[in-house]
Amino acid sequence: MKLIGPNGEVIVELPSQVELYQSPDGASSLLVDGEVIHPFVVRDALNVWVAWNGYSAMFTLPEQDEALAKLELRAPMTGKVVSISVAVGDSVEPGQTVATLEAMKMEYRLEAEVEGKVVEIGAKPGELVDLGQLLVRLE
């Protein structure tokens, strides 16, 4: 995976076994090939901030991946999923609502920016989701 870090572009080869577990306060557990470390990870739609062992950095996806990023509809905030209005296999149009979230008694409609076919649904209605969590993946 290509990322832009504080010193420019880097290619990150993800080891075969990598899992990231995160609590809402950012404290995380990263499992890499049988070992656990505890970084702090925060992400929004465009950036990921990581701190670990006194180091910290912000990472961004390279611009060429923006088209790809548009196919991943992620939670813009921490909140509750009110509804998912599409199912795997559905075709969606730009502007079409794919999910509705609620936080602080405000509803937020997540709309598709590009057309595509739904290949993955990341959350169920009623579920609490974190900022940046994948809700719908298009193809």
Partner: protein, 472 residues
């Protein structure tokens, strides 16, 4: 009943929170002030009452806020109005106790050029120099007479504002102009003094407390590690002096403060040169950023002592001051050491500090560029210097601030450097470092890639799936 009922802190950030803590412990009321754009900062809510002011530097408005909040005392913190005799006088005129020296003592010591003359009068060595001057022509003339290497310094205040080191006179005029612009912006006064640059030098300062007649020395702090003339790591005791030199510095510090009838907390700064000679630099007539280092070595609460002295209570005697162990402070700043220490601003997305160590902070949800870049001070204490280094290193490794660039990693690089471990720190050390790029270990990149790949899983699942994973 204690003569002070409510203290208004004419400041913001960590130092306002620090002063409130001592006041709360003493059962004294508190009041905060805030500028319009700063109303959400933590110091505002850390006091019992608060009032908006047009600006932290607006003397008339701060006095009005003190009256409005029924405060009978004002603590100025550091920076802003803390070294402004006009403010001390305005408080006195309004019948408000100023927790600091009198305007007269401040004038005698706060102005660097007058302080130099005062020091000379008491036989304390000073670096060769001239000033103060306001006109560019006068400054230029003095600089040419003294010759390089030299320092340009603000006559009116400290904190490295307006301070310039000139190794040659090539860009003299533009350096003078830059220095005066910064000085004007910081202190509303553009007078500069021109002084010999002593190199390589140690910055060693003595914390004094005084009651108007007697001064006592609480200890020295070595603050040689500075970037852009701003200290970033401070420690006590200094690795550079022996007990004979320590006594000399303590005596000089007491002499100069007693000589002007000084009261309250003050810091007398010296440079110790390569020849082992010491030179008086300046007196900071206020609480210093790095005062916790002395508090941890002595077990004293300097803010409490300030309040007691201002309230007319007797000061402790010198023989009651006992120093023990070693303390080190690291200043976490919102800045990027890998980009020329450029200040960094933005929302704080995450902050996490470890327990079991002193952290003085006033960090809220946002860091702007309008105010100081200091976001937290982490201060360790150990029986030995090595123990203090280990504790501070651990605390910085375990802490995290996300959303802005900080100097956290750089502080760790300093703490783990050979020169720091060997106690070889000079005021020029950081400027002479090849800092290079921000170190980014592969763990960060993998965590970032994993987060982008998502979805991020809930930690509740971690224990059930841990199974064969082992903790590192």
């Amino acid at each position: 009943m204690f003569p002070i009922q409510r203290i208004l802190v004419a400041n913001r950030g960590e130092i306002a929170c620090r002063v409130f803590r001592s006041a709360h412990e003493m059962g004294i009321g508190t009041a905060s002030i805030y500028a319009e754009d700063d109303c959400q900062s933590p110091h505002v809510g850390a006091a019992e009452v608060s009032a908006q002011v047009a600006d932290y530097l607006d003397i008339g408005d701060v006095i009005r806020a003190a009256k409005e909040t029924k405060s009978d005392a004002v603590h100025p913190g550091y920076g802003f109005l803390s070294e402004n005799p006009g403010f001390a006088r305005a408080c006195a005129d309004a019948g408000i106790t100023f927790i600091g020296p009198t305007a007269e003592a401040m004038e005698a010591l706060g102005d660097k050029s007058i302080a130099r003359e005062t020091a000379k009068k008491f036989g304390i060595p000073v670096a060769e120099g001239f000033g103060p001057f306001s006109s560019v022509a006068d400054i230029e003339k003095a600089a040419k007479e003294l010759g390089a290497p030299l320092m340009l310094k603000a006559a009116a205040g400290g904190g490295g504002k307006g301070m310039k080191k000139l190794l040659s006179l090539d860009n003299l005029r533009s350096e003078i102009e830059t220095s005066q612009r910064e000085t004007r912006a910081s202190f509303g006064d553009d007078r500069l003094i021109v002084e010999r640059y002593i190199h390589p030098a140690r910055h060693i300062e003595v914390q004094v407390m005084a009651d108007g007649q007697t001064a006592i020395a609480l200890g020295e702090r070595e603050c040689s590690l500075q970037r852009r003339h701003q200290k970033i790591i401070e420690e006590s005791p200094s690795t550079a002096i022996d007990s004979a030199m320590r006594e000399k510095l303590f005596d000089a510090a007491k002499k100069i403060t007693e000589g002007v009838g000084y009261s309250n907390a003050g810091t007398v700064e010296f440079l110790v040169g390569p020849d082992g000679g010491y030179y008086f630099l300046e007196v900071n007539t206020r609480l210093q950023v790095e005062h916790p280092v002395t508090e941890l070595c002595t077990g004293l609460d300097i803010v409490r002592m300030q309040i007691e002295i201002a309230g007319g209570l007797p000061m402790m005697s010198q023989d009651k001051v006992i120093r023990r162990g070693h303390s080190i402070e690291a200043r976490l700043n919102a800045e990027d050491p890998y980009r020329g220490f450029l200040p960094s601003a933005g929302p704080i997305l995450l902050k996490s500090f470890v327990d079991g160590i002193r952290v003085d902070t006033g960090l809220g949800g946002f860091v702007g560029t309008k105010y100081d870049s200091l976001i937290a001070k982490v201060i360790s204490h150990g029986e030995t210097r090595e123990e203090a280094i280990e504790k501070l290193t651990f605390a910085l490794r375990e802490s995290a601030i996300l959303g802005i660039s900080t100097n956290q990693t750089f502080l760790l690089q300093l703490l783990e450097s050979d020169f720091f471990k060997n106690g070889e720190t000079y005021t020029s050390t950081i400027d002479s470092l090849e800092i290079g790029q921000r170190p980014v270990p592969p763990e960060l990149e993998i965590a970032a890639a994993a987060a982008f790949r998502g979805p991020i899983r809930n930690p509740a699942e971690v224990w059930s799936s841990l199974g064969a994973w082992r903790m590192k």
